[in-house]
Amino acid sequence: MTTQLNSSFRGTQDLPKWLSPTLLVSFFLASFGLQVLLASDSDSAEINFIPVAVFGLLSFTLALYVISRVIEGVRKATDRLVTIMVSTAFSLALIPLLSLAYTVVTKGVARFDAEFFTFSMRNVVGEGGGALHAIIGTVEITGIATLISVPIGIMAAIYLVEYGRGTVARLVTFFVDVMTGVPSIVAGLFAYALFVIFFGPGVRMGLGGAIALSLLMIPVVIRATEEMLKIVPNELREAAYALGVPKWLTVLKVVLPTSLAGIATGIMIAIARVIGETAPLLLIAGFTASMNYNPLDERMMTLPVFVYTSYANQGVDMQAYLDRAWAGALTLMLIVMVLNLVARLISKYFSPKG
């Protein structure tokens, strides 16, 4: 009886650490080898990697489960099974992402050169040319959209969290919810309709694109800011009130600085979200092959529209147009990546330290 009690505390023996990775590699190699054999048997020389992965994974799972169950017992075998399932799901989720990044990078580097960043497409037919006009357009239009959306969004969020009570606040919340779901093309149409009132039909203007984008950005900024303001502990507000600080100064000097990092991150994410918008810009900013630095006049190219038109209107030298489209896509992705990095840096440097 006593020996049994003692031994019941001792776990079963663990599998050696190296076993599971070794098994994984060997089963995938075996699966690969099998496919090679099968392929050489039949006429097709192609090796399909999907059966390799599926077969390798299944046999590895089965083998590890059986071994673990025999040596380690049911509980640990189940643990290993679930671990494999979770890791598989994670890898599956990662595959499209990596594959996308890989495709964009490999196809984009062909034209990712100095000319691409120093020339517009004016008078370019076939090879050469660049996307400087589109980059300038994207920077200006999203920049203006940000300048419009950030103050409005932050102030609306402050109203909702710090002041809003009753009907007005509920109404604002409702409209923010509705606006979050507005399709981007509708925002574009709205901006177009708005500008037609002032400038007549057929108007094309970078500013219109900025308005359309800010319609999409504002709800995102409001939501992000609202969440960040809500998590500022009430104790800090009370601490300020107790020092005889009026409410507006408390919001400005205690609540906002405390949540600054989160708000900045939210803004970056909002920018990243709209910088790739194509449809509304196609409508109101239009497209052009020339440089246009003035958002208040005439058509303005943007990167997403550049990618779209390069792809949609391929010239005789097809490859040149496709290469430019991919290079544009790569540039856009890099911009989004930089924005995300900036967001991380901001949240690192601005978060309350302690």
Binding site: A239, L243, G244, V245, G354
Partner: protein, 259 residues
């Protein structure tokens, strides 16, 4: 400066709920007054009415009169912000501003209000407040470091320094030591005793030893049951409340028979 506070049949409500009923008492200047009583009897509610922090909560209101050196705190023209500049408060959990350095925390009463001051003045105020809060020696070499890097007890003393830096007349403390270890608690208690040289000190405490150790006057509050308002049961000199209370309820509470 130190002010005398007079409560005249004060009722405190949260919306329709009467949380504290009919409190009348006089809180003496240059003394420590302790509020004791079981949880939920309205000690925090009452102490927060003394600097109008109560009305920060939506729907909260006060009936009756509250006089500070004869001046009606809830008078029609009174600005709650001005009241709070004269009545400082220290909370249960230390709440230094996380975005500010130790020094800026001490000066926050000025800085948050956009008051301008010279560098020398700022340094003088900082040192005086930190010395007053018995924290100077521990932090004088790291005034520019964030306040949230201090220990809990140091943070609480930083909050006291912040409160006394603006030179209020009254200091309210709502269970200032309940989140602290015994050593930090002792430090805060010593500090409270020093503070009464200059200020009117009101302290809410759960700890009856603490009340009997440091306070001059003790107010005992109780509730008859949940949902009923808290009431002031007995208010007297601390020795009297703890050794020879008039009310049976007080006797039961201070002797640890309930609560």
């Amino acid at each position: 400066m130190s002010k005398r506070i007079e409560l005249k049949s004060l009722d405190v409500y949260y919306k329709a709920f009467l949380a504290v009923e009919d409190v009348s008492m006089v809180i003496e200047p240059k003394a420590i007054t302790a509020f004791i009583g079981p949880s939920g009897c309205g000690k925090s509610t009452l102490i927060r009415t003394l600097n109008r922090m109560h009305e920060v909560i939506p729907g909260a209101r006060v009936e009756g009169q509250l006089l500070m050196d004869g001046e009606d705190v809830y008078g029609p023209d009174v600005d709650p912000v001005r009241v709070r500049r004269q009545v400082g408060m220290v909370f249960q959990r230390p709440n230094p501003f996380p975005t500010m350095s130790i020094k800026d925390n001490v000066l926050s009463g000025y800085k948050l209000n956009n008051s301008r001051m010279s560098k020398a003045e700022a340094e003088e105020i900082t040192e005086k407040a930190l010395v007053g809060a018995n924290l100077w020696n521990e932090v004088k070499d790291r005034l520019e470091k964030p306040g949230s890097g201090l220990s809990g007890g140091q943070q609480q003393r930083l909050c006291i320094a912040r409160a006394i830096a603006v030179e209020p007349d009254v200091i309210l403390m709502d269970e200032p030591t309940s989140a602290l270890d015994p050593i930090s608690t002792a430090a805060i208690e010593d500090l409270a005793v020093e503070l009464k040289e200059h200020f009117t000190v009101v302290i809410v405490t759960h700890n009856m030893q603490q009340a009997s150790r440091i306070s001059d006057m003790t107010a005992f509050f109780n509730i008859a049951g949940s949902g009923l308002p808290g009431k002031l049961i007995e208010y007297d000199k601390t020795e009297k409340v703890f050794s020879n209370p008039t009310e049976q309820q007080t006797e039961d509470y201070v002797s640890g028979r309930f609560g």
